[in-house]
């Protein structure tokens, strides 16, 4: 080897990041001790939801936006219903609002349990998947699947189907769930609450890399409730504004080196963290008693600045979701009437954000004179976290430099999975065409 050589150059590629929803890849370029380039690239093809929503009828929107993501369709339906209700000047009843929260609980349970047990825990215990982890940890995986199933059942009772519910509409529900169906679920919800507490104990015993990051934490915040379907947009850096101001404080940009749109704070373009860890930091006071206790017993200490703890945060939120679901089901004494608020379709504009399992999800719609959808804007959680994921990776790589390439790749993937990134939901993530000759670091050089 040449003696006067430059520091060794290494490139590490993960061509297809596994155990995430959607398709992404990672490209890292190292020059000796220096980290030259880190690209999390999303090669999920663009699907153009915002474009083809134009010209569609108002009632079609929640059905269509659900298809942005099969893992969290409820989040898309909830953000779009609320935003359109504002545009139309509809006030939903407190009962409808409560049942929507219940529906959302089902999605949190189903999505968080999928991530905890099948996608993320294997990283901590040294398996390549939940399926091979089940060989040695059958009981745990079965517990996770059973909890997930209850979440799906909840979505099914309220939404008609677990993936892409059909019973959700602007103004409420097409059909009220029966009191009997919901009450029948109570024993399973009670079992789920216990299983969720066991989950917190299980994941908090994992070994966590030491990785504190001074995040700006962004979530919704509501004075009385842990945020699901509404609240102010809140940041640990001092922001606390109604969702109507979201677009003055956050902006999406297309960075030249990247294949994706990044959401960043304005001014300053700083990245931030959304999702379970942000929610817990910002809103732990609004947890219900059992989930609060579970958080205390998990051994986590505020502020929560290590994103590897997000698996614990997710588990605490599963406890909360079961607890809240039980509370709401108990309060559901008589069938919802009307199941949806009648309305006239007219011109208007409205925006709303809800807390998808992966973080804040913002929608804005303008209804034209026709009166069809004239404009739609959707900022999915993965776009919100995308910049911070890369920033975390840069930082985390410093701890990994002495490892071999395969280990670096594996640990980087683990770091990315802290975010439970949902790459299909990033509707307008795109594929970048790069000149390979000029840019050897092109993510397309395969």
């Amino acid at each position: 080897m040449n003696a006067d050589s430059q520091p060794e150059e290494r490139t590490i590629e993960v061509k297809a990041i596994s155990r995430v929803e959607g398709e992404g890849k990672l490209y890292v370029k190292l020059q000796g001790e220096s980290i030259e380039q880190v690209q999390l690239s999303i090669y999920e093809p663009p699907r153009f939801f915002e474009s083809f929503l134009r010209g569609r009828q108002v009632h079609e929107v929640p059905d269509i936006t659900a298809r942005i993501c099969g893992i969290c369709p409820v989040a898309y339906q909830m953000s779009s219903c609320h935003a359109l209700e504002k545009a139309l000047g509809i006030a939903i009843s407190p009962e409808i609002r409560l049942l929507r929260r219940l529906l959302y609980c089902g999605e949190w349970i189903e999505s968080h349990c999928l991530h905890i047990y099948l996608l993320h825990a294997p990283d901590f215990l040294g398996y390549e998947s939940g399926i091979s982890m089940a060989v040695d940890h059958r009981e745990a995986v079965e517990r996770g699947l059973a909890m997930k199933k209850i979440g799906n059942q909840l979505v099914e009772i309220l939404g008609g189907r677990a993936v892409h519910p059909i019973n959700v509409t602007v103004g409420g529900f097409y059909r009220a769930p029966s009191v009997r169906d919901l009450k029948a679920l109570l024993p399973r919800l009670e079992w789920g609450l216990e299983a969720a507490l066991e989950t917190v104990r299980w994941v908090s015993r994992f070994e966590f890399p030491d990785f504190p990051v001074p995040y700006e934490l962004v979530s919704l915040k509501h004075p009385d409730e842990y945020p699901l379907s509404d609240g102010n947009v809140f940041s640990s850096a001092g922001l606390d504004v109604p969702v109507e101001e979201y677009e003055t404080h956050f902006q999406e940009t297309q960075l030249p080196h990247s294949t994706a749109l990044y959401s960043a704070r304005t001014p300053g373009d700083a990245f931030y963290l959304a999702g379970p860890l942000a929610r817990l930091n910002n809103c732990y006071e609004q947890l219900l008693p059992t989930s609060k206790r579970a958080l205390e017993e998990s051994g986590l200490r505020f502020p929560l600045t290590n994103n590897f703890h997000s698996i614990v945060a997710r588990a605490v939120e599963v406890v909360f979701a079961f607890e809240e679901a039980i509370r709401i089901v108990h309060s559901y004494q008589a069938e919802l009437t009307p199941s949806r608020i009648p309305y006239e379709i007219r011109q208007g504009e409205g925006c709303h954000a809800t807390e998808a399992p992966r973080g804040l999800l913002y929608h804005r719609y303008r209804i034209g004179e026709d009166p069809l959808i004239a404009e739609a804007k959707i900022v999915p959680p993965t776009a919100q976290n995308q910049g911070q994921i890369e920033a975390d990776l840069r930082e985390y790589l410093r701890q990994l430099l002495s490892l071999d390439d395969a280990a670096i790749a594996q640990k980087s993937e683990h770091m990315i999975r802290n975010y439970d990134p949902c790459i299909s939901c990033a509707t307008h993530f795109l594929q970048l065409t790069v000149d390979r000759g000029q840019d050897p670091a092109s993510p397309k050089s395969e």
Binding site: S18, P46, F48, S51, D63, I71, S129, L145, N152, T433
Partner: protein, 269 residues
Amino acid sequence: MAEKLRLAVFKFASCDGCQLSLLDCEDELLAIADAVEIAFFLEARSQQLAGPYDVGLVEGSITTEHDLARIQEVRKSCKTLVTIGACATTGGIQALRNWANVDEFIQQVYAHPEYIATLKTSTPASQHVKVDFELHGCPISKLQLVETLSALVRGKKPQTPSHSVCVECKKRGTVCVAVAQGIPCLGPLTQAGCGDLHMNRGAICPACNRECFGCFGPQEQVNGQSLMNHYQEQGAKPLHLVQLSRSFTGYAPPFRATSEALESGEEAP
């Protein structure tokens, strides 16, 4: 021990909902994992075993040059190729671009449209390669998925219904939303399968007081125009009927013909 069937799951442009249906088989998942070798399934495992595979499940539609080439590779590596869901069997909701100007779409969303590499169409796998079996639905029914996998393990042809959503409503005793409430419904044209057919829970939308919007795709032989004429006579606007038939499976030939005839103002003979 006999060799296990080697299964691979591939994703193209989609929402992940159909592959999620496999992970949503909470009661059967570990049994499936015991019965077949899940050799390639990016969403579920990091292990990536090379082909050839006995069965390939394809989710998602073809929307990029890269995927156009990849579906050929996928076909070559799989003995039996099964498309799962509306995206893979009909082009999916993203096929709405097929009636639009994609360049305009791109400009509406992106500051740097020149970076976008995408085809002008979203098409089903069967338009590009031979497909052995198609599972309909947006999303697929997990019961049908389990039935399909177990049939393939036994070397049999999977059985899925070929009758319409209407039949399911009658069986279930759902009052017809089209007749009773005058809501234009795609049930007469749509293939059954969205509910649990064995438990008498078929046809979930009309049971929730709303129209079927065709997410399980059209039946093979349907006369969409005559149904649309009927709804128009009852006062439905052509634009609304175009949109009804042009949603999650709108690019499937019978629905496509229906919406295009409506748009051009043609009367059915």
